[in-house]
Structures are given as structure tokens and as C-alpha cells.
Symmetry: C2
Subunit: 563 residues, 2 copies
Amino acid sequence: MDTDTGVALPPMAFNLWGTVEEAKPLGDSPRKLLAKLMGVTGDDGTAARDVPVGQVSLSPVGLAEGHLTALAGIVGASHLTTEDAQRAPRSRGKSSLDLLEWRAGAAGQEISAPDAVLAPGTEDEVLKVLQYCTEHSIAVVPFGGGTSVVGGLTPFREDGGRDYAGVVSLDLARFDTVSDVDAVSGLATLGAGLSGPAAELALADHGLQIGHYPQSFPYATIGGYAVTRSSGQNSAGYGRFDDMVRELTLVTPSGIMTVGQASPASAAGPDLRELVMGSEGAFGVVTSVRLRVHPVPQVKRYEAFTFPDFATGAAALRAVKQTGTGPTVIRLSDEIESSVNLSSGDKVGETQSPPGCMCITLFEGTPEHASSRHEETRNLLLAHGATSVGEDPARHWEQGRFNAPVLRDSLLDAGALCETLETATDWANVPRLKKTVGDALASSLNKSGTMALIMCHISHVYAEGCSLYFTIVAAQQGDPVAQWRAAKTAVTRALTENGGTVTHHHAVGNDHRPFMDAEIGELGVAVLQAVKAKLDPAGIMNPGTLVEAAGAGGASGAAGVSS
Amino acid sequence: MDTDTGVALPPMAFNLWGTVEEAKPLGDSPRKLLAKLMGVTGDDGTAARDVPVGQVSLSPVGLAEGHLTALAGIVGASHLTTEDAQRAPRSRGKSSLDLLEWRAGAAGQEISAPDAVLAPGTEDEVLKVLQYCTEHSIAVVPFGGGTSVVGGLTPFREDGGRDYAGVVSLDLARFDTVSDVDAVSGLATLGAGLSGPAAELALADHGLQIGHYPQSFPYATIGGYAVTRSSGQNSAGYGRFDDMVRELTLVTPSGIMTVGQASPASAAGPDLRELVMGSEGAFGVVTSVRLRVHPVPQVKRYEAFTFPDFATGAAALRAVKQTGTGPTVIRLSDEIESSVNLSSGDKVGETQSPPGCMCITLFEGTPEHASSRHEETRNLLLAHGATSVGEDPARHWEQGRFNAPVLRDSLLDAGALCETLETATDWANVPRLKKTVGDALASSLNKSGTMALIMCHISHVYAEGCSLYFTIVAAQQGDPVAQWRAAKTAVTRALTENGGTVTHHHAVGNDHRPFMDAEIGELGVAVLQAVKAKLDPAGIMNPGTLVEAAGAGGASGAAGVSS
């Protein structure tokens, strides 16, 4: 059943963020800072970028030959592979825990992998695959860009008392068309497997853009954005991804469901789009998304500001959003983040000048509109304690906007622990939540024997609140996986008890699943399980994520469960 | 079991929109127009405002004394009544079909009514009522302001093969508190039974407002807005009601579910708020809503414009929304609606001057913000073919903004048929949908023997499309209920086949339920049924609306169904 080149390799290396070509050792400034702050002194042996996929042993292919043959019969033999080089990059996402697990794999630990990778080409093939897998209790993990940072891609062979006959990765890469472009209304239908850059390139031919730029933009896909409810850096101007979605096609074991087709807005009952968005592959496979798009902006205007302290800056961002002055990007780094120039790309680690909290703004649109929004926003920021520091810091930020995740691998190789976490809350609760999260992180990491550099910024603003994005750097101590799990558990508990969401835009995956009771309540979880039972009666869709399938093998009608 | 004054009478008369005091005969201008256009000549006998509730016979109280006693034991005897004067106003909403049915009732037809009216005071009482009714198969119809125009309040004694032991109206009026006002973040928690005006009055004490003004504003309630996904006239500035909702508490037979509490925005799975909104009482009872509020605007600026034709005006509105120039109100009446001055309140029927399509704009906010939005919007409108006609038409519109529904009763009494319907679609599809709907209405009404005055406006705009709101006046012919049902059926079919939603902001109720398969597909309906089966296992919640409860008496665990 091993095959040829019909399945495209995903662009990122199996064990890093990004490609081997992009990967590099830690630069001098961050290296010096690490040594100074936490005694981390250098490379820790073999860098991940130098580990070939053949060095890691994956779980053996455990799916019976008969199933492999049947599945190849559905998608075509050239679109199914069991090669390790294809299984590995689809075995994990890109959380720090995932990246640390690969480093342990390089040192000999066996890494669980899907048994096979399928790359179907039509909705009908996807439907048939799901129906076959339902009948034979084979778990299916949809794969887009592979950028999950919450354990949304880990292949589970059992969940909630169900054992699966195997696990397959269902790659959306062949769903890559752009169609039904309506430039008047500002809509376009995109295949779920299109990466962000490929989608923007295709739409640019029509003079249109989506304008959704999460840090995963170089690799993540349209379908992935939709099922995780991601939010991009231009959210102030264009909204979160879930604001952009007009229509979705979800292929489920129970059939194909298209949601949101009727109109821009409707009162025809509950909004089913909002059940599909955030479902993370646990209800079915999103194959196609109809998105709200807009003309490529004619101009971009830049300005950066500093504030004397985070509270002053936060109050100014609140005024901007509540008044509605309309920037495309507005971000505020706290004192610590500003002081290490985290947003500057290549200057990370150098002492920042001038001091204070850095605030980046961008304004896009027609010349009149961009200038009108810039004017009103600047006046309001200055009235709220900002000092302008000109264009350059904002231009620098834009140039380096997708680089930070690459830095993380360099840090991990150097013996530092590096991870991010994010939440959101109401403006009035920001100081308390920020302090609570910072304290929980510091306390847990200090207990493990290291000081921690805890940086924070606001990058998504709402009328009633904002997101808080934390970047944590500490020295690895003992087993860094256990070290981080302890910190993550402590902080997530602190979040849910202090008015924060467990995730503003990274999704639930497996990592946040234990906290869903606290997040949405038992009845909320039961409702999601009822929906899953209707759409995925055998509980084969992305086990281990979102919510457990209810009732293994019994009332929900699951078939073919093997033990 | 008949009781006293513990249950407040709803403010509207049982058989009219509004109060008897507000009701009045048709004015001279509209009367002349009706006579000229369609030969309708005058009052048709007794005006609805002159019919006392005692003149109409309601279905007898059919719920057994034992159940009435038990329910009184839960809510308190003074909060349960079986008096006709209380049952009547909670027997129907305010669609034209409802109003016509009352006129038939005045002429002797028996009108089905709920057996009893309950007014619980706490979430726990609501929960106990729902649990009791689940056990004994008693249908429950939640009642807020009674403004449903889609048959969302009709008491059904059987649905989908289930017979109910009785039907009770559950009045939310005692859920009338305002609490947890967070003026910094712009949030407040409101009891679901608060009317719009009462809510705005209470919030004004804090310098805050909601800013949601549907035509039902004088009477509709916070809970009603939430479960119907209503949209108000200031939607351009502040969004639809579903954009304003941060958190909801839903009391269901299966327990109490709070959704949306975590944060301004979250990626923690599907958004359960969007399952509750639009559920129209079919999943449970919304008792409390936490809303996004904003400071009462400091200034309001007005300007009206005319366009030479509807297409030019629509293109201009599209430019305003897609650019994001930010008006609070923007509306465009088509040629026919403009020509009868429908938006002018007292001048309806007079020949409009100047001719063309009337466009109303309003700008609210701080002086700087309102003036900045006004400037940018005006410039864009003028560049797209508008001619300014100054402030007065906009001020007139604002003064008469809630009056139109009262006019409808005057028309019905005069022998005219009058109703509204609304939809939404993408900008590129607006001309086709407008023509298709207009043709379907005209064709059906012409067949019944009358010409029809069909007026249309845009009052809600989105980046990719807009709503279309039709007001229809014709002469009653034969049985006006049958006459309207035929027209409504023809037009709804035309809508679903031509890219329109069956309802942009009026909801599904019973009237639109037959079209849900076309609107959201069979699997979509099945998903809603699965959610209902989890939250309302005996299918007692507002039967006849949204979707049928699945499987009467069987697999969904319904108990106590009597035949």
C-alpha cells in the first residue's frame, strides 16, 4: 500500500515550526539575554533542524491491510500513503509540547502516528471515507496546515471507552479551488485546504483580499481557521475569522451539511455556522468556506506610540474601540515585552529605546478612509497619554510579524522553555486577570527551579474587552514536558476562576478539553455531545478533541467498536 | 383557581397592535389613496379597538384542576390565572393573520387560548414549572412582549404526533432587574422580561444605552429580542441584537444553561450563544441576558438625501457599508415607498416632494465622532449620486419611527389587507430578489382580485448585502386570511429559490417552519432536533415553532404523552 508522489508533503518540517531552511540557531542578543536572566547557556546538542525524519521511530502501521485497500479504493491508490515521511508531519501540531515530544523522539521515544494519510479530492470521496470509517470504527483526524498549538492533531487510538481499529489523517490539500467570486458583494468560495497565502494570491487576481493574518498565516489553511475560530493581526479592521465566514460545507458521517447559505444575516433560527466553527474536526470535515472579502487596500499608513505604562495604554485602546475610530491593526505590548523588543524581529533582546509600552497601529483602505481613521485614532491616543514614535517601529513589526514561532525552536534547542498562551476578558477585569495569570505562571515555573520571563500584549480589541497574549521563556528543568504541563494546568485553572476564557483564538484541541466543563458548563458539554452524536454517531471524528463522544458503543448507535 | 391582580396585564390590547388609546381611524390622506388605488372605501363595521375582550369566545380551560393546583404551588397562587382577560392577550402575536383572526373572533369564531397564564419570579420556579410540565406533557409558551409577527405565540395542543395535556403561557414580566452594570467595559445584565423602554430608562441612570430600536420597541422584551434575533433601526451603528448579546441564561427542562460567560470572544469550541439565539422558546426559557451597552450618545446629527432611483441608492449604501464610513442609521426607500411618504408618519399618502428614493441617515456619538462619520458618509453618498434634502425628513422619520404598526389596524378596519415581510440577500442579488418578490406578491394578490401597493426599503446593511423590507397594501377579497396565506406561500417559495432568507429579523415561529428544510437543509433541521431532544426531551417547549420535536413518545425519552 505504500505509494508514490500522489500525496503532497506538508510544507513544514515534521518536528519544527516552519521549514529546515528557515530554522536557525539563536542570535547573539537573545542568547545573551537568556544567559543573563536564567543561566541558559547555549545549544543543547543536536538542533531539531538537523534531525532527519528517519531518526525517529513512529508507531507501526496498525490498520489492517483490508481497510487500507478499501480506503485506497475510495480516494485512489496514489492518494493514500503509509510512508513514515508522510505520517510523521501529520502526527502532531506545533505546540511546545509537540515540539518537545519530537526532541524526545530524536532521543529514542516512540511517537504515535496515524496509520495512513489519505488525500481525497471531492466531497463525495470524503463522505465515503467517513462512512467507511464509521462502519469500521476507524478514527479520522482532518489535517490542514498542521499548525494546531493545542493538541488538535494528536492521533488517539482510544477515547472515552471506545477503541478504534486505526487512525487515519485526512489531508485537505486537494480542496484548493477559488470559485464564485462576487466582487460586488465581496464574497468568494474557497477550498478548505488552501493555505492563507495561496488564497490571498488567488484573490489578488480579482483585486480582493481576506485580510486574516494570524502568526500561522504562512502555513495554516482556510478550513483550519474556520474550525478553530482563529483571529488575525488585522482583526481590528476586518474582524476575527468567524466574522468573515458566510457559509461552510461540512461533510459528516451522517451526510453533507451546508450552513449559512441563505443571506448576509438571518433570523431563521439558531445560527448553525456557529456550531461548525470551533468544532475542530470533531463533527465532520469542512471542505469549503464562503468568505467575506474586500478590495485590496489602496494605501497603508503606519504609526507607533509609547505609553508610560500598560494601564494607560489599555485605557487608550479601550477608548479607540469603544468610540469606533477604526484602525486596521492596534496592539499594545506590556512593559516587559516592550523592553525586550519582542515585536521588532531582529532586535529582540536589545534594550528598547524609547522606554514604555509599545503600541503599533496600521490603517488600510482608500486614501480618504485610511487617513480619516488615522487622524481620529491618533487624536484619541494622544489625548489618552500616548507619545508618537513615528512610523518605523510599526513598519518593523509588520516585516517580522510571522517570525516569532521560528525563534521558539531556536530557544528550545538552546535549553529554554518557550510557549505562549492566550485568553480574553472584559476591560474592567484586565488588570486582575493579567496579574493572576502572570503570578500563576511565575509561581509554577519558579517552583520548577527557574525564573521566568513573562511578556504580555493586547492584539485583539472588542467593545467590552480584549485578548491577552502571553509569551513565556524560562530555563528547561528536568522533564520540560512535565514542567510546562504543570504551569499550564495552574494557569488555566487561574483563568477559569478569574473571568478569562481558556482560549481566545487557539482552540480547544486535546489540551483544553479537560476545562470545557468550567468553560461552558455540563449542560453545554452535553449539548455538544448531542450534536456530535447526530453528526458522528460512531464517534470517529478527531477523538480526543473538543468533547468526548457520548456513550461508547451504546445508545448513540456507534457501530463496529473493537476492544 | 381564578385569581387576582398578581399577574400584570400586558400593555397591548388583545386584538390590536398597541393600546386602545393609540388606535384611531384611518386619516384622510391614506383613505383617499386607498380609494383611488384599490377601491377600498371606508370602515368595515366595528373597529377592532371597540371590541371588548368579553365579546370573543376563547377555547375553554382544558388543563385539569390538579395540574393548575400543582403549578400554582410552584409560582404562588397569585401568579397564576385562568381569567379570559389574561388568556386572550397571550393567545396570539401581532401578525396580520393574528389580527384578522381576532376580527373573525369578534364575529363569533372560537379562538384557541392557553389554559392558564403563569408569571414565575425566579429561575428556580421556571425550572420547576418546566420539569413539572415535562413530566405531565403540558406545553409551555414563553411570553415576553407579545409582538411576534410569525405565529410564535399560538398555543398548539398537539404537534408532530404528540398531544399535550394542556398549554400554559409563561410570562417573563417579573424578570425585570438590571444588575452588574460595568460601565467601563460596557456591559449590563438585564432580566428577560424587561421591555426595551424600561431597559433603556434604567440604563440611562448609568449614562448607558442599548440602542436597539425595532418597530416593536415600545412593547417587545429583552428576552424576545434574543430568541428571535431581531434587528433594530440603529443596526448600522450598533449591530443587530445578536451582536449585542454577551451572555444568556436559558432555563430548560434538562437544567439551567449559561452561555457566553467566559469572555468577549473565545475559541473554546462552537458558540452556544448562537444556538440559544433564534431558538424562539423551543429549547427553553431565556430568563436573563448580559448585553453590550454604550454611553448614551452626546449628539445626534441628521441628514436626508434623495437618489434618482433605487439601484443608484443601493449602490451608494453598499459603498458606505463596504468603506465603513459608520452611520448609526441608514435607510433607503424605493420609488413607490418614497412616493407615498411612508416614512413621514403623518404625511403618508401625500405626494412626496422632492421625487426620487428617500435616504435617511443619522449619526450618533461624541461630537467629534458623529461629525467625522457624518462628513465621510455624506461625501461618499454625494459622490454616488445623492442629493441632500437637509435635516427635516430625517427628523420626521425619527419622530414617527414606531407608528407604522398602529396604521395597520386602521387599514385592516377599513377593509384593506396590510402586512409586511422581510428578507436579505447579497448586494449583487438585490435587483433580482426585489423583482422576484414583488412579482410573486403582485401576481398572487392580483389573482385574488385586487391590485397591490408594494413598497420596499433597505434598513439593515452588511458588507456583502442588505435586508429588503416589503410593506404590502391591497383590498381584502373573500377570506383575507386565505388571501394572505396564498400570497405568503408564493413569495416565500420565490425567496428560497432566489437567494433570500425566509426571515431577516422576524424569526421562524410557526409561519416559517415549513420552509426550514429549504432554509437550512434536512441535516440542519436534524441537528436542531437533536439539540431540542437533549434540552426538551418531552417536546413541551413552544410546540409548533422552529422545528418539530423528534420522535413523539419514543427514543428521545419523552414522558407522559397522552393521546
